[in-house]
């Protein structure tokens, strides 16, 4: 008997009991939909994290000061004041380094005419826009000459523009006052949006780091040194070279601890996605359990069906169906149930993913591997849980089956 004929007999039998077939499939439908949604959300979240990290800047390496111990109390990472602009200049000469910018951050009130706004003022080098992959909305960024002369010029982020110049007038050429020092606005930055940690990256004023050190902090050390590696492959060697260089400059020999930390965003990204992967794995495990529960539901109904259709089985055998044909028929029924359930589950899962993606503004990613795996797994559930009832049907003796009431 051909597979097509077997399939048709199975479909006829399932369609004769539509409501029951649908309810039987429900377990598998829910299981597969759960698998698809969790895997898709996990993947979508990972892709979106990856995108945000990339938006921070290409091949970014961040050097921050280490902790400092004062009177027995250790400050956290970044507490020490050990990095200088000179460290930055030395790093810039290393191979594989494309650009370096120190960053000195001060929180301060900024005033423009009648408006004022508390924001973050960061002293940076002109290479900062390159390191952060940031572009200008209007005007121009300050130059190396401005750095050398510690010029009183500033570049504003969009949030600062909106709050200091709410009437929409152009801030270029206007004067803002930070800590009593007047700065002339020379340019504005394009909007960058929120950082991965939820900070508004546009709430910032950029000034030459020399101006920040001399006029705002009065110190000689910088908070951070941002380094852009030449390409992705240079990130790792550059990181090693920076560590060695700074250890040498800061006269650190083992077992002394480094008074700085060098991190690259790939590490951070990898940590973020591995956390995501573990979560995804757990959710997929839960989903797999619900698929198995669905499979048990199929087995239960198939057993009921075999008992209920004992006379039909007896009749089919008496008109010449071999046991193997009966086995194939019932096995086909359970595989059709589980596979169709799997396909419906995939579709529902896709719709669910789409809704979540819309609400969370995530990219909609349904991994093909997840879809194929779910459908194959549900087919396997059908084979596994359908075999026992099918074998029970196939082993019936024709006369006993015919006499069954």
């Amino acid at each position: 008997m051909s597979y097509m004929a077997t399939l048709r007999i199975a479909l006829d039998a399932l369609l004769r009991n539509r409501a029951r077939s649908l309810l039987t499939m429900l377990g598998v439908i829910i299981g597969v939909a759960a698998v698809i949604v969790t895997v898709s959300i996990g993947t979508g979240a990972r892709v979106s994290v990856q995108k945000q990290i990339e938006s921070l800047g290409s091949n970014l390496i961040v050097v921050i000061p280490g902790s400092v111990t004062q009177g027995g109390a250790r400050s956290g990472s970044g507490g020490a004041s050990t990095l200088t602009p000179e460290d930055g200049m030395a790093i810039a000469k290393l191979p594989g380094v494309a650009a370096v910018s120190p960053a000195v951050t001060v929180r301060s009130q900024a005033v423009a005419g009648a408006n004022n706004w508390q924001t973050t003022v960061t002293g940076v080098a002109p290479t900062y826009t390159f390191v952060r992959s940031w572009t200008m909305a209007a005007g121009a960024f300050f130059t190396q000459n401005d750095v050398l002369s510690a010029a009183k010029v500033a570049v504003l982020g969009q949030t600062v523009v909106q709050n200091l110049f709410p009437d929409g007038s152009s801030p270029i050429g206007q004067t803002i006052i930070v800590k009593g020092v007047p700065f002339t606005v020379v340019g504005t930055l394009t909007a960058m949006g929120q950082s991965r940690t939820g900070q508004d990256q546009d709430d910032t004023i950029l000034v030459p780091y020399t101006s920040a050190l001399q006029r705002l902090t009065g110190q000689a050390t910088v908070g951070t040194i941002m380094v852009s590696a030449a390409d992705a492959a240079s990130v790792q060697p550059a990181q090693t070279a920076i560590t060695a260089l700074l250890e040498q400059r800061h006269h650190i020999v083992p077992p002394q601890q480094d008074d700085f930390t060098v991190r690259n965003l790939q590490d951070i990204a990898a940590a973020a996605s591995s956390t995501g992967a573990i979560l995804e794995f757990l959710l997929a495990g839960v989903a797999a359990v619900s698929l198995i529960v669905g499979g048990i539901g199929i087995m239960n109904i198939m057993l009921v069906s075999v008992t209920e259709r004992t006379r039909e089985i007896g009749l089919r055998m008496s008109v010449g169906a071999r046991g193997s044909v009966i086995l194939r028929q019932f096995l086909t029924e359970s595989i059709v149930l589980s596979t169709v359930g799997g396909i419906i589950g995939v579709l529902i899962g896709m719709v669910g993913t789409m809704l979540v993606a819309l609400l969370a503004k995530w990219p909609m990613v349904v991994p093909l591997s997840g879809v194929i795996f779910s459908v194959l797994f549900s087919a396997a559930v059908g084979v596994f849980f359908g075999y026992y009832p099918a074998r029970k049907a196939a082993q019936l003796r024709p006369i006993e089956a015919l006499r069954f009431e």
Partner: protein
């Protein structure tokens, strides 16, 4: 020519458990020739149904030999018996055993699905046999849309589609009213007379057995009477 059914010293012993046994058939010798119309009679427990099940290859004897169309079929495997049932035997049951929610035509086609007849051919043969039993106009009706007599005709058409060597009918009129019983028995008679189909009928009603040309009586697992009768008088 070889007899269709040839059984020698056929025994069927059931184990009752606890060491007890019961002999449903205690050494039966019978030959049924091609073209015969045989009624098997006897009270319940006489072994007539057991005999029919063994003759129809639905059951196997404990001992003795059974030659079907000249071939020894006493010790075939389940699959081999299924194959012979699908090609050489037709069954008609008391309770019709039609597939519910399935049309008359599809019910009649069923045995051919298992003997591997192509779909178009199946349809043609099934229609032809529905016409033979006189209900081809009901081809698209499902069992619950038909009377008992009509359903039994579909079952008879189903038993004919593989051109069997033998039709086994187990109390075919048991669930029918008098008029339908008469029509079904006249149909069997016509199939036997006009198409030469061999029929083995099991019944406990003398007026049904009276349609047959030969009546075999069973009692306690033995054949107690085997009589040929002349052309039946109109009832």
């Amino acid at each position: 020519m070889e007899p269709v059914v040839d059984v020698r010293d056929l025994r069927k012993i059931y184990d009752l458990g606890g060491g007890g046994t019961v002999a449903a058939l205690g050494g039966v010798n019978l030959q049924i020739e091609q073209g015969e119309f045989v009624a098997v009679m006897g009270p319940s427990g006489s072994g007539k149904s057991t005999f029919m099940h063994i003759a129809g290859l639905l059951d196997e004897p404990t001992s003795g030999t059974y030659r079907f169309e000249g071939h020894d079929v006493s010790s075939l495997t389940q699959d081999e018996r299924a194959d012979i049932r699908s090609r050489r035997l037709g069954f008609v049951f008391q309770s019709y055993n039609l597939l519910s929610r399935t049309t008359a035509l599809e019910n009649a086609e069923l045995p051919m699905i298992y003997s591997g007849v192509p779909e178009i051919e199946r349809r043609r043969i099934a229609l032809e046999k529905l016409a033979v039993v006189g209900i081809d106009h009901l081809r698209d009706h499902t069992p619950n849309q038909m009377s008992g007599g009509q359903q039994q005709r579909v079952a008879i058409a189903r038993s004919l589609v593989n051109d069997p060597a033998l039709i086994l009918a187990d109390e075919p009129t048991g669930a029918l009213d008098t008029q339908s019983s008469k029509e079904v028995m006249e149909l069997f008679t016509r199939l036997n007379q006009e198409q030469g189909i061999t029929i083995l009928l099991v019944t406990h009603e003398p007026e049904v057995a009276a349609y047959a040309k030969r009546i075999i009586s069973f009692r306690d697992g033995h054949v107690v009477a085997d009589t040929l009768q002349n052309q039946r008088q109109a009832a």
